[in-house]
Structures are given as structure tokens and as C-alpha cells.
Symmetry: C2
Subunit: 298 residues, 2 copies
Amino acid sequence: MDPQQLRTFVAVVDHRSFSAAAQALGYTQSAVSQHVASLETDLEAPLLTRRPVAPTEAGERLLEHARPLLLRLDAARADVARLRQVRPGRLAVACTPGTLTPATALALVRARSAAPQLAVSVRVCGRTEAVQSVLTGGADLALVDGAVAATDPLPLPDAGPLTAFPISEEPLAVLLPAAHPLVGRPTLRLADLAVARWIDAADAAVPLAELRAAAQSDGFGHQLTYTGTDVRGLSVLVAAGAGLTTAALSAAGDLPGVVAVPISEPRIVHRTELLHPRTPTTPAAELAATLRSAQSPR
Amino acid sequence: MDPQQLRTFVAVVDHRSFSAAAQALGYTQSAVSQHVASLETDLEAPLLTRRPVAPTEAGERLLEHARPLLLRLDAARADVARLRQVRPGRLAVACTPGTLTPATALALVRARSAAPQLAVSVRVCGRTEAVQSVLTGGADLALVDGAVAATDPLPLPDAGPLTAFPISEEPLAVLLPAAHPLVGRPTLRLADLAVARWIDAADAAVPLAELRAAAQSDGFGHQLTYTGTDVRGLSVLVAAGAGLTTAALSAAGDLPGVVAVPISEPRIVHRTELLHPRTPTTPAAELAATLRSAQSPR
DNA sequence: CATCCAGTATCAGCAATACTGATACTCATG
DNA sequence: CATGAGTATCAGTATTGCTGATACTGGATG
């Protein structure tokens, strides 16, 4: 099971085509066909149906392992590479939308002015992508948020050694349209909202799967899937009555047309965590120190 | 980064020798040397010091990834292979010493008599090995125990999809020699014992690292490391005053010369969990069902 | 300090492999 | 049934990966 072949296999599944995968990888179609055939004879199982190209049951199993394997291979390379370059001229931060608060923004500005020649970059993306960026060296630091029980850490994929540190913690709130009948309530219970219409915005808010896990409920049958990291756009949908979503309690203040009501039950918090490799670059370590000491402003 | 080369690299580190690794892997020493050289040029970093052979800093980093990678590769192969053989003539159980209780033993006996032609095997080993066995297909089922906060699951390496289910939960107890001054106490606080002499028996009892994590303490400077899975031998050492260790409260009844005193603080439990692949073999699923329904006898 | 030796690096040669390019095949579509 | 987009197969070639022989090197020994 050559990683090259696994990478080809994943590309074929993603492109749903041998020839498209070949083009994407810079191989000939013949090579791709041979890679897949080699995997199939090695594992003694058909991995793909052809025409249409789709993973078989065995292929699905392999996929569950192939993606993490390839990620970890990249992470390994990045981890070794980091040893050779401890003081780069850049500071790349990957963060999920919910983590960009006045406090974190201020820390970034300070880091910027403390080292003016530093190329500081901020990328807003989904949690998975942010974690992967730090693992594979695309970013030096990540800020990710999520909703979990107060004592639990955020669930992260285990693809390598990562240092995690809680930066801020505040109540989790439901975002309601301003005209919603529940707006007056001081708090809400999540279980009472399980049957409401929700928007599943995995990259812009807390994924519904996480709420389901935290509430230990089977509800949250979502009505609408929202792809992207634009919180503003999400709030417009909420205001228009497309469905509910969640956010940190303080995050709703500047969003028009929506009202945030804290969740009292179950005991869930919205937590932001700082992630970095075990040996961060010097500017990353400094920013991390700032963020750690600043902590939550409220 | 060819997995073959990673495997070679790991073998060299383990054997602390190129030639010994070559012999173990069935290669020539020349091939091993070339594997390592290839990795080093690929990663642009020296991975090993020669004479004595030891991993460099970069080598240590790579090792952190190489072992999990190789494990997951095996797990992937095993996961696909399992699809082809859902009803084997065997039932292999890997378990840690603390999980062999009357209840689990009884379930095994029942499984045995329910399917007399089944080759039932039980292997007692450390937790890591038990988990690896299930992942790589060496075992169909695993029983592992550990000490964690009541709401947390046991910490397991994330090398593939595994189903975990709590089987029994009971107070965690400290094993004291019968003559120990604290024997009379109804309960003990772990923090008060942080400075005591401990035996770190990672494969026969709860690893001290886990206690340290649970107690959020830096103590437990152990005096003695105990390798192996023989609980009886461990209890003899405890009785002789070599140090303390922990066990499930009920486990000390049949051990001579030692007394178990439950821990009241912090709120830790001794939990046994059942592990199996997402699609267990038929006999494994039946045994799992028995164990789940039996639950804790006390 | 010279010698020795266990162990690692290097090199040439050969066998196996991993691509490409051409071509045969095969299923879905009109 | 004809067509075409897409996959499988095959021969040929460049590359890789291993072995066996040999050169090299650092640490132990007297």
C-alpha cells in the first residue's frame, strides 16, 4: 500500500473519474488505472465501481484510513521541516469565524506592531482546514472554536502532536430572528429547540453534529446546509427565518436582525482554543503568549 | 516517504543498529543504509546519529509520526480484510489484566459453550497492545481498563474507527500493604498520596501517567517500574512495601497481603471498556452483546 | 599510539518496478 | 445500432530498489 497509490485512489474518488484524477495528479490515465488495480490486487477486494466511479464498501473502509494517513504523512514532513526554520519572516494564523473577537484581533495587531517586518496573514476557514493547516505547516497558529461540555477539550483529529490551550470561554447562545417568539426569554434549553428548523453551518458556526453530541439528542434535523465561513451571511439567513444557529453569546451584538439567547441546559460552553505545533516558531510563540495572558475579556 | 523506509527507520531505532534491523527485516545491511539515507535526503535532515545509533531531534519527530502511521496502515489493511471474512472459526479476545473479572470470565465461558466448535482465545496484555490487536485484526474484541473522570471516555489512540462501550465502572482503590498505617481509613485522597512511593506498572495496573493526569498533579514520582501483566506478582511487591499501586476496588479481594482503600478525591472511576471494530465478526458481536447486557455485577 | 574490529557507507550490477503511449475494450447515450 | 467518453491492457523504456563486494570510520584494546 504505497501512499502514492492511496493518494491516487483518494483523487479518483474525489473526482469520480480516473482520467480527471490523472490530470489533477499529473499522471497518465494508464498510471491511475494501474495504481487502483495494484491496490485492488494487494487488498484482494474491489475498491471502486467503474462507470459510474464510486467507492465500494471496501473502498469506503479504505477511504476512512487513507485520508488521515495522507494527512499524517504531510504532518510528519512538516514537523521535521519546522526544525530547520525556527525564525521565519512570516506569521500565518488560521482561524474559524467564531474566534475573531476584539480580544484576538487586538493581540494580532500588537504582534504586527511589535515586529513590523513580519508578514502577518490571517486565514478564516473551517475547523478541519484550520487544524490541517497547522499540522501540515500551512499555518503557524490556529484559533478554533466549538461547543462542548465545560470540562471537555474540543474534539480534534489525532494526526500528530498539537498543543491546545483554551483562550476564552463564554456561554453558548442560540441566534434567533429578532421577531422570534422566544426572543424575550432570558435563557433557553437546547432540548426544547431540537425540533426547530436549524441551519447546519459547519464552517461558519458550531456544527449541528456537535450540538447533537452535546445535547445527547437525535434531533436537530436541519433544514438548510450553509457552506462557507461568512458569519454575516449566515445571520442574514437567520434573520430571514431560514433557521436557527448558535454562536458565542457576545458574538451577536454586531449582527443586525438577530438576537442571541444563552443556552442554560445542557451545560455547554462556547470555547475558543489556541492550537500550535509543539515547537512553534518564535513569532507564533509570542502571539500565543499574548493570547494566553489576555484571556477572555468578559 | 515510503512506508517501507519508515518501517526500516523504526526498526533501526528499536534495534539501535543498522545491521540488526536488516537481519530483523530480512534485508541486507546495505538496503537498510540506503533506506535511511533516502529518508534523510528526502527530509533534508539527519535522522540518526551513527555509532551509537540513536535518533536525532528530527528523528524523534519523525518517530512520533512513523509508529502511528505504520499502525494505521496495518489497521487499514485489517479493516478491508474483515469484509471478506465475517464468520471465522475463532474468537480472539485481548484484554488488560484489570478486566478479567468473574463477570467477564463468565461471559466468555457462555460464549464458548454456545458455540463449541469455536476456537476461543484470550490474551492478556497491556492496553496499547490490546488496542493495536483489535485495530490490526489480531483480536476480534478487546477489554481495556483505566482510571478517568466519571464523564470521560478512556483515552485511546486514534488509529481508526473503533467502537467503545463501557462495561463496568467501580471506585478506584489504592492497594496498600496490609501493615500500612493508612489501612484503617474508609477512603483516601489521591493528592495525599502523591508523595508516596509508587510502582509504575503500565501493563498490569493503571499507568501512573494516567493518575497524574486525573489528579492534575505533578507528583507520583515512582520508585519502581514494573513491566509485565502479572497482577499477582505486582501485589506481592506491594505487600512487601515496594510501593503502592491502584486497582478496581473489587479486584483486591483475592490478593493476599494487600488491602484496597477507595479513593474519594478526585472523582475518578475505574472503568472497563469493550472495544471492537465497527463491524465485528459474528461471534465477537454475540460476546459483546452478552458483556453489554451483563454490565457491572456490583 | 597502533591495531583491530564491529559496524556503516558506497558502488556496480542486475532484477523488478513504474511510468508512458498506443490500442483494445466497454458501457451509457441518443 | 452507432457513437463516444472513459477504463483496461500491453509493450517498451527509464527508473528504482535490492544484493554482494568493498571501502571507510569510530571506539575499544593492549
